[in-house]
């Protein structure tokens, strides 16, 4: 408890305004008899910044601490893996979810697949939608892959269809030559 001593300028209820001999204008608490202006008085220092909150400053402090714990706890719970789901595909995909069933990380043994998965938006609150999105992406990539392979096969056998130039594979042929 900090005390201040000075001459009383004014009183307002239990609040006493004083001027200390060290040149500070301060407010102190009158615990007993209320002093008169001009008296020298010593009392518990009331911080100028804490004064507006008065008795509620302890409640405000407790509420602030509670908010910090709740926000901190929420952030902690969001980032801690709660369960792991594995998709039995080739290559396999592993999804880690938090307590809110939200995907917090995705991994695969195939680095290329993992990179593609990282680019996917898996922030949906429903896990099923996220899994569906991975499957759709895999299907689309597989279809692209099949198309590319068919195109290559066709270009390697030019007698079986239209002229090679028209197929637009001039560059493909060059690349292959290299």
């Amino acid at each position: 408890m900090t005390e201040r001593k000075g001459i009383v300028i004014k009183t307002q209820g239990e609040k006493v305004y004083i001027l200390t001999d060290e040149g500070e204008f301060a407010t102190v608490k009158a615990s007993g008899a209320i002093p008169a202006p001009g008296d020298e008085f010593s009392g518990e220092y009331l911080s100028a910044k804490a004064a507006p909150l008065g008795k509620f400053r302890w409640i405000a402090s407790a509420a602030a601490i509670l908010i910090v714990f709740l926000v901190g706890g929420g952030a902690f719970a969001y980032n801690i893996p709660f369960s792991t789901k594995t998709l039995s595909t080739d290559p396999g995909v592993e999804l880690k979810t938090n307590v809110f069933r939200q995907v917090i990380s995705v991994s695969s043994q195939d680095k290329e697949v993992e990179e593609q998965l990282e680019n996917l938006d898996l922030k949906s609150p429903e896990l099923e939608k996220n899994v569906q999105s991975i499957i759709d992406n895999a299907r689309s990539k597989a279809a692209d892959h099949r198309n590319t392979q068919n195109e290559r096969k066709f270009n390697q056998n030019p007698d079986s269809g239209s002229p090679a130039v028209e197929k637009g594979t001039g560059s493909t042929l060059k690349d292959k030559g290299k």
Partner: protein, 220 residues
Amino acid sequence: MDRNEFISINKQFIYNTAFNVCKRKLQWENDDELSIALIAFNKACDIHDEKKGNFLSFARVLIRNALIDYFRQKPNEVLLFFNGEEESDDQIFDKNSLSDFETKTENKNRAEELSELMEELKGYNIDLEELVNHSPSHKDTRDALLNIAFRCSGEKSIVDTIHRKKTLPIKQITLLTKAKPKLLEKWRKYILSLIIILSGKNYIYTKSYLNIKAGENIND
């Protein structure tokens, strides 16, 4: 008892009061501060009456204020600070020796003075609540602002500007004290109040209550 004899009996009191302000050993033969204190004591003998309370308390007020005014005339040479030390034994003894009537008279005088001060500050749009909120709690800051206010209170042009425009002339003060405008702006209300107390002729008890001491020379 004639005046000279009375002064001679109270020489130790005069010395102690001057020593409490100057905080160094003083010599009757060499130090101006003791001459100033003697003159102030003599003045106290002239003007004291029952309304002003206990004689020695009143004489102490006059001696302290005379010394502060003396330092103000040579502000470049003296650095002031608020003394945070406990009261000396002499001061405690003097307080205990006051009768109830004398204590009440002194408190009444201080109350009247403070009430007048608050009224004057209202003219500068400063109320007590603001003053409490804009009063530095750190001692080093208060000491720095005291020296700024002290130098300003000795500069007639600044005091006149303050009374006329009811505001702090930041530029003038910056030129005089080399203080940063940001510092002056931040503690504007507190500096204004200090200048009014230090330069005002009506606030002798308040000025005397402030435990102002003289420190080492700035030029050293």
